[in-house]
């Protein structure tokens, strides 16, 4: 026992401690919020704790961003994991500043502890260096996010979302675990660096990769594993939906890409084929279904599928092209948070539940007259998601697509451009609905 504690894992230098600092900070915040919940403190306390913890986490992660990579407690802290940590904390911060959760759940303040847990899981995920820790961290953020999705206990949809998310999520996790088992079966190890060059190419290994991808695609809402997304994005509280959509995608995207590149799985053709086929399908199915939705939030879920479709091939391309994907998801996350918060206050102005939903066909001129600023933000956000310059979404898409093009995915980019054109039907048309009068009322 004594020898175990004296082993190298527990030797921590001061530089390594600075890498752990944001995580310690989050744990501290977690402890405080649990104690606060036990003591039944007022909602203000949680608001302050949340803002403090997340903004400090963002700052420390960004300050250490340029430092050298380090290994501490088995975690591989690289600049990728740091930026994911910073961005995920940013998404958490926006989701809770913009959506006023602390007041809404004043008598059930455990949400902050859960949110911090989810953020910790998401920021640990890219630091994992073997498939087991990948799985553990994946579950680490999944479980709190299942609960958060069902936090609106008075709405049936929220409970339904939570249950569906958990059941399907557990199933996908099981398949992921199956993939990991098969990886172990094929090569006798699950460690990324020892897998390099030791992964045979036969049918079993292809099957292993397929199972791994199921778990990853599920979280990324890539077709054909996207079924849960519309229900969850529609049912979960607005802020949670915004956080999950962006944070989960970002963290999974980066960690999967890192895992595939560290293990050198990305050199395999079968992995690439899976990703390209799934990406192509996602763009097609997502666009078609987004267009037919009679619910604004389901529409956004399908549009997320379209965006994830473009990211899928990037995931199996190695580390060099990760930056464009991260930037894309960063822009996507902030845009989505703005859109949902504008939509939420638009609902409030209609005297509806701020976490509710609306048929996009029902949006009309009255909304934009009633809440001018929100409609403006909503329209700008939709145009940005559609990728019309000079809005930030365009630059994100441009960088992403040109990276894909450079890597030889020309047909996929063409396909994605067609998908962008489809976006007129569901983004631009809805932006128009807000400002165009139903009947002719203006004559010039």
């Amino acid at each position: 026992m004594n020898e175990f504690f004296q082993s190298k894992i527990f030797e921590i230098t001061s530089e390594q401690l600075s890498d752990l600092f944001p995580l310690l900070l989050l744990s501290f915040g977690f402890a405080l919020s649990v104690i606060g919940a036990g003591l039944k403190l007022s909602s203000k306390f949680f608001k302050i704790i949340g803002i403090l913890v997340f903004s400090l986490a963002i700052t420390t992660w960004s300050f250490t961003f340029l430092e050298a990579d380090s290994v501490v407690l088995g975690l591989h802290i690289t600049h990728f994991s740091r930026i994911v940590g910073a961005l995920v904390s940013l998404f958490a911060l926006t989701s809770f500043v913009l959506f006023d959760v602390s007041k809404r759940y004043a008598n059930r303040p455990e949400w902050l502890a859960l949110l911090i847990l989810a953020v910790m899981g998401l920021s640990l995920l890219p630091a994992s260096h073997n498939w087991i820790s990948f799985f553990v961290f994946l579950e680490f953020f999944s479980i709190p996010s299942y609960i958060l999705a069902g936090y609106d206990t008075n709405r049936e949809r929220s409970l339904e979302a939570s249950l569906k998310y958990m059941l399907t999520g557990a199933f996908a996790s099981a398949l992921l675990l199956m993939g990991i088992a098969l990886v172990y079966l094929c090569s006798g190890t699950v460690d990324y660096s020892s897998l390099q060059g030791h992964f045979p190419s036969h049918i079993l290994s292809t099957l292993a990769l397929a199972f791994l991808l199921v778990g990853i695609f599920f979280k990324m809402t890539i077709v054909p594993f996207h079924f849960w997304a519309p229900d969850v994005y529609q049912g979960a509280p607005m802020g949670v939906a915004a956080f999950l959509a962006a944070g989960t995608k970002l963290s999974i995207f980066v960690s999967a890409a890192l895992a595939f590149s560290e293990t050198e799985f990305y050199l395999r053709n079968d992995l690439m084929n899976f990703a390209v086929i799934a990406g192509t399908l996602s763009i097609l199915v997502g666009s078609l279904l987004a267009f037919t939705q009679r619910s604004f939030r389901r529409m956004l879920a399908y549009s997320g599928t379209v965006n994830a479709g473009a990211l899928a091939p990037l995931m199996v391309l190695g580390k060099e092209t990760l930056s464009s994907g991260i930037f894309f998801l960063f822009v996507y996350g902030l845009t989505l948070a703005l859109i949902l918060s504008a939509f939420s206050s638009l609902l409030k102005n209609r005297n509806l539940d701020a976490n509710g939903d609306l048929d996009p066909e029902e949006l009309n001129l009255k909304d934009s007259q009633q809440s001018k600023f929100q409609s403006f933000i909503l329209a700008a956000g939709l145009f940005s998601l559609a990728g019309i310059p000079p809005l930030p979404g365009f630059f994100a898409k441009y960088w992403l697509f040109s990276d894909l093009w450079a890597q030889g995915y020309r047909p996929l980019v063409m396909w994605a451009l067609l998908g962008t054109l489809m976006g007129v039907a569901y983004y631009i048309r809805i932006a128009g609905k807000l400002f165009f009068a139903e009947k002719r009322s203006v004559i010039i």
Binding site: P390, W399, M414, R429, G432, F436, V442, I444
Partner: protein, 475 residues
Amino acid sequence: MVSILFWPLLSILVLVPFRKQNWAQWVNLLLHLPWVFFLIELIKVTPSGAPFGLMETYGTFPLFKSALVLGADTLNVSLIALTIFLSFSLSFYFLGHSKISQSFLILFQLLNFGTIGSLLAADAFLFYIFWEFMLIPLFFLIGIWGSENRVYAALKFFSMTLAGSLALLAGIFFIVTKTEVQSLAWSELSRNAEMLSAAAPWLGWAFLLAFLVKVPVWPLHTWLPDAHTEAPTGVSVMLAGILLKLGVYGMLRWVLQVFPTLYWNSTDLLFAASVIGIILGSYGALRQTDIKRMIAYSSVAHLGFVVLGAISTNATAQSGAFFQNFAHGLSTGLLFLSFGMIYDRTHSRKLDEYGGLASTNRFLAFTFVFASMASVALPGLPGFVGEFLILSGTFLQKGWWVLLPLMGVVLGAMYTLQLVKGLVFGKVSPLVESHPISLKWNEYVSIFPFLVGLALLGLAPQFLLAWINGSIPVK
């Protein structure tokens, strides 16, 4: 150049505090004065001759291989002058107009910003940003202030032009990733023209497609009648007056000067498309009962002539194309504007409900006839100069094939005279009788510059022709 580009944006900032309609309209008018001043300063320094003779770099974005480079030559400065001219004249028309609110003016200035930006941009990426950016204000201008069918028109316009632009974007992706070109600057691209054409033969087509939709060339023209008809008067004037010209400008600037081989190889196809456009556009105009739709179809035909000249290897036809491009902005702009003034009172666009305008308002009737004659190519008016140059140049190159577009001239006379007969002459219809038209002073002021401009262009075309001469490279 920077001041002329960013002035519309600055104007928006100034406009923001003026919530009241009258105030905003007056402020908008006053804000045009410094703009005109900047324009004069720009014209003074614009060199005649070489394409993009004046070029300034304001900053670079290495990530996108792009830079904020603005260029000026007579080709684009003449169109900038047209933009500012139209916008300035319209700002008089807007005075006291009940529907022109602050938000309309802000969107209108955004449109001006996009237009001038895409004219000045000397970098493909920058150009693309401005080119797409124009769609946003136009979408809202048509969708909010248009007439009955405006939402359909706005969406159709948006998606069709976006489809063209996405082809352009794909071309840009290819240039950035698969070729050795250092940056997307126009100078760099045109220097490497041969290498680009060799790298991918479709590249030039991707660029061309974006512009063919905008011009619009048959069969990509179907958005135009809807958009022009449903748009409010001010926007119709800008659409016909400058935005269609941007398509031709794009062809000359970004296809002819960057992909010359492809441009000259595609002339047969474009010749066919533009001749079909001329004939079908004229025939379409002949069959319309809606006056604005009629004018819109006439634009398709007239732009067919412009393309016909632009693809000619003949210097005469080329300069004729550019002249016609410019003149059409004035004549069709005036047609839309003067009809807009009538429509403001009568709220009807049906040709058969009109008649006898000449006996109720002589000035407006004169204006309408004047503008029609300018567009029908009556000698002494600019349409004649442009079409004559184009057709004579085409005759030198294509021989008797010129009879086909020549038929378009006759058809053009037919529908224009039909329009004039139905609207201006004949018995006074009940509609015209019940809505007496008396123009306000600001409406006179907004029409006046058009009349002067058209007369000057028609009687003394040599000044403009000499000025723009040399900025279009001829094979």
